[in-house]
């Protein structure tokens, strides 16, 4: 085998002798050698440089800059008036000195994230099981479900504001058929967040369903057939055969839903402006409101650093879940 012989010649002198003695690890010995050559070549960095430069200017630089701003009482109109205040913005954050208190914002975010993750998974998984059949009707249904996800958030948010209109909205019309009186969906503290969650689920379940459909397509049919032969009913087959195989996909959905829900902004901006009061002011919305409405740029930067930390933690979980999808047990 050509590749095997090449591997022999490419093994560096520093490679432990055991690697040469083993008859099997020829490919592993070949891989690091080639990778190392690529990474030590200045030409390779020349190719990477444009992307890295853009990433540095538009992502890494601003991220570091955000950390800097969070240590200042920042006046963006006249930066000569900026004042270094160290960790004061973080202190305000922990003590709740600024309205709305940080812990309350975190609670509002958690409410939205949990509802989106649980709701999205619970609705999308049965939907995917239903739509996995390959008939024309179900393929059309898949497209229909996914269609909501590709609609623009701004435009559909405005449509849903009218659906939730307390006097003329479709939502209250439907409720009136069941004898339920008018609800001020977006103006009432109790209903504002559920209303936004309903809209957000409508927008997101198409995407999650497609991920589950992809997962279902990779499952082993033999295990299901064996379960049926052993007398399993549909529920037992799902719970004991299908569901365990889907776990990596469920974990993936949980992580990406958490990250995207944490960073959600448009629907809050368009539908409630964070209100009533601060009842729908999540962490993502608060960044905007503190920086651009209340002009507390330094405090907003501190919020951004916290959001960054949470997102990094979730991204690590996401990376691990992706690996577990690549290498299913």
């Amino acid at each position: 085998m050509a590749s095997t012989s090449a591997a022999h010649t490419a093994v560096p002198a520093s490679q432990p002798p055991a690697a040469h003695k083993s008859p099997v690890p020829m490919r592993p010995a070949f891989k690091p050698s080639r990778r190392k050559t690529a990474l030590t070549s200045p030409v390779a960095y020349l190719f990477v440089f444009p992307a890295l430069a853009i990433f540095t200017v538009f992502t890494i630089g601003p991220t570091i800059y955000t950390f800097v701003i969070s240590a200042f009482k920042w006046n963006w109109l006249n930066t000569s008036q900026n004042k270094f205040i160290g960790l004061k913005n973080y202190q305000d954050l922990v003590t709740g000195a600024i309205d709305p208190p940080f812990w309350s914002t975190l609670g509002t975010s958690a409410y939205f994230v949990v509802a989106m993750v649980v709701g999205g998974t619970v609705i999308s998984l049965p939907l995917a099981l239903l739509l996995q059949q390959a008939s024309r009707v179900f393929v059309a249904a898949r497209a229909a479900v996914f269609l909501a996800h590709v609609t623009p958030l701004v435009a559909t948010s405005i449509v849903w504001v009218w659906i939730f209109n307390p006097r003329y909205g479709l939502a209250n019309l439907v409720l009136s058929w069941f004898g339920i009186g008018n609800i001020d969906w977006l103006g009432n503290s109790q209903f504002a967040m559920p209303a936004i969650i309903i809209y957000s689920l409508w927008h997101e379940i198409g995407f999650i369903t497609v991920i589950f459909l992809g997962g279902l397509a990779t499952l082993s049919g033999e295990l299901s057939e064996a379960a049926k032969l052993d007398g399993c009913n549909a529920w037992q087959e799902f719970w004991h055969v299908t569901f365990p195989q889907l776990r990596p996909f469920i974990l993936f959905v949980v992580v990406i839903s958490s990250v995207s829900s944490l960073q959600a902004f448009t629907q809050f901006f368009m539908m409630t402006s964070g209100g009533p009061g601060f009842d729908t002011a999540t962490l993502g919305f608060q960044l905007y409101q503190q920086a651009f409405v209340f002009r507390k740029t330094g405090y907003a930067a501190a919020l951004a650093v916290v959001l960054f930390g949470i997102t990094v933690a979730l991204s690590i979980v996401q990376l691990r879940s992706t690996r577990s999808i690549d290498t299913p047990s």
Binding site: T56, G61, Y65, V68, L77, G187, S273, G274, G275, F292
Partner: protein, 442 residues
């Protein structure tokens, strides 16, 4: 090739260090530089050199008659002064306008002039990005003819004049004359008429309180009611005083209307939508809503317009709309050109045209003598009544925290009207939040 000369680790370290240095350099530059203070020339009126100049006017007159009228006035100005080019940079709404001005000022490239609210101007003045106009107004003949309320509105708490008037309005009542034959004269009459009209699916009044990000018309109406009861929601220095008797009574008044089925809260101009759709009897809104309300009604019935009812302590109103601020970064030639343009917009002839097209109010008394205005007022008698209020109407104090504090008031209004809190408790909570906002801003 030596691996030590260019290792991946070295490269990544170099990239990271470069990023940190770039950010640190940017931060240091930002800390040390920034917008310069108003130049010496900004303290006096630059000489009119008739040099060619291009000025940028950032504004939010982006639709309907407002857009059309401003475009024509600007074209007329450029025809009169061919050496001056005015670049109208229109924004879709005031929120976007504020964001754009801030972004450009932060980048060191603000417009020459822009529409601003008083609380924006307060922040701009403190940050030294706009120039005071005292020296300018001292030389203006038109300024002397401005209504007293307008003159007061151009000043900030330091007593200096920082703005020049543009689109000013007060609040009036629009009503469906089929449901309400005659405009109520007092707020008690208004409540009685509203309750009487609220039958067969009609809810007489729909208002939008706004949100924590900013109050809307419903909160403005509440603030006017409180003032008519003898207690302004803010003291002159901007201190919130939401728990005063007159304020609590104003909120109780709205709660009572809600309980009687004569009031509903909504968003996106709910009063205009309901009045136009025949499901509302009143819309309490700015006089500048006139063309929009007429369009919403569409000739289905006769829409009456009248001044606001009076309360126990007389008639109260709120001066609304924006002024124009001149930015410090402009060159002397641009400042001189901008000053000419600002004066042109408020000259009696131009102002009369502006009023007749948009429904805004004339800022100077001499405008009332122009034939265009006389013709307009002959068809719309309410304009004269509304204009009289320009001597007394006051806008909210020009303090940077007032918008956030009014957001707390909007929340109190929502809570009390929805029945989740008593008027007193809701206002007490709002007072605490507003005081917190004031302290944080100070």
């Amino acid at each position: 090739m030596s691996q030590h000369a260019f290792s991946r680790r070295n490269f990544m370290h170099a990239a990271a260090a470069t990023s940190v240095m770039a950010a640190a350099a940017a931060a240091l530059t930002a800390c040390g530089g920034g917008s310069s203070a108003a130049s010496t020339s900004s303290q006096s009126v630059p000489a009119d050199s008739n040099e060619p100049a291009t000025i940028v006017f950032m504004e939010a007159m982006s639709s309907g008659a407002q857009k059309e009228a401003l475009a024509k006035m600007t074209a007329d100005f450029m025809a009169k002064y061919p050496n001056i080019k005015v670049d109208l940079q229109e924004q879709p709404d005031y929120g976007t306008l504020q964001t754009k001005i801030n972004a450009q000022a932060a980048a060191g490239t603000p417009p020459t002039i822009a529409q601003v609210y008083g609380n924006w101007a307060d922040e701009f003045a403190k940050s030294e990005v706009i120039v005071p106009l005292d020296a300018y107004v001292a030389k203006s003949d038109d300024y002397k003819n401005f209504y007293d309320g307008i003159k007061a509105d151009l000043k900030l708490s330091d007593g200096k004049t920082w703005m020049w008037p543009f689109n000013k309005s007060v609040v009036v009542q629009y009503y469906n004359s089929t449901m309400v034959p005659e405009a109520p004269k007092t707020w008690d009459d208004f409540a009685a008429a509203a309750k009487k009209a609220s039958t067969n699916g009609v809810v007489a009044l729909a208002i939008d309180p706004g949100s924590s990000s900013g109050p809307a018309g419903g909160t403005a109406m509440f603030e006017i009611l409180a003032q008519a009861n003898g207690d302004a929601v803010f003291a002159d220095d901007g201190t919130p005083q939401f728990t005063k008797d007159g304020v609590v009574k104003a909120l109780d008044y709205l709660v009572d209307l809600k309980k009687a089925g004569a009031l509903v809260l909504g968003t996106k101009y709910p009063g205009q939508v309901a009045l136009g759709g025949g499901t509302g009897a009143f819309d309490i809104s700015s006089v500048a809503s006139y063309p929009f309300n007429l369009k919403a009604v569409g000739g289905k019935f006769t829409m009456g317009v009248a001044g606001l009812p009076s309360g126990p302590k007389g008639t109260a109103n709120q001066l609304a709309g924006t002024n124009i601020a001149l930015f410090a970064k402009a060159t002397d030639a641009e400042k001189a050109a901008a000053w000419k343009y600002m004066q042109f917009l408020t000259s009696p002839e131009q102002m009369a045209y502006w009023v007749s097209m948009t429904g805004y109010l004339p800022v100077s008394k001499t405008t009332l003598d122009v034939q265009t205005f006389k013709d307009y007022a002959a068809k719309n008698a309410f304009v004269l009544e509304a204009t009289k209020q320009l001597d007394n109407a006051k806008s909210l104090p020009s303090k940077s925290w007032v918008n956030q504090a009014s957001g707390s008031l909007a929340q109190a209004l929502t809570d009390a009207v929805n029945g989740t809190s008593s008027s007193k408790d809701a206002l007490s909570k709002a007072q605490d939040a507003a005081t917190k906002a004031m302290k944080a801003a100070s």
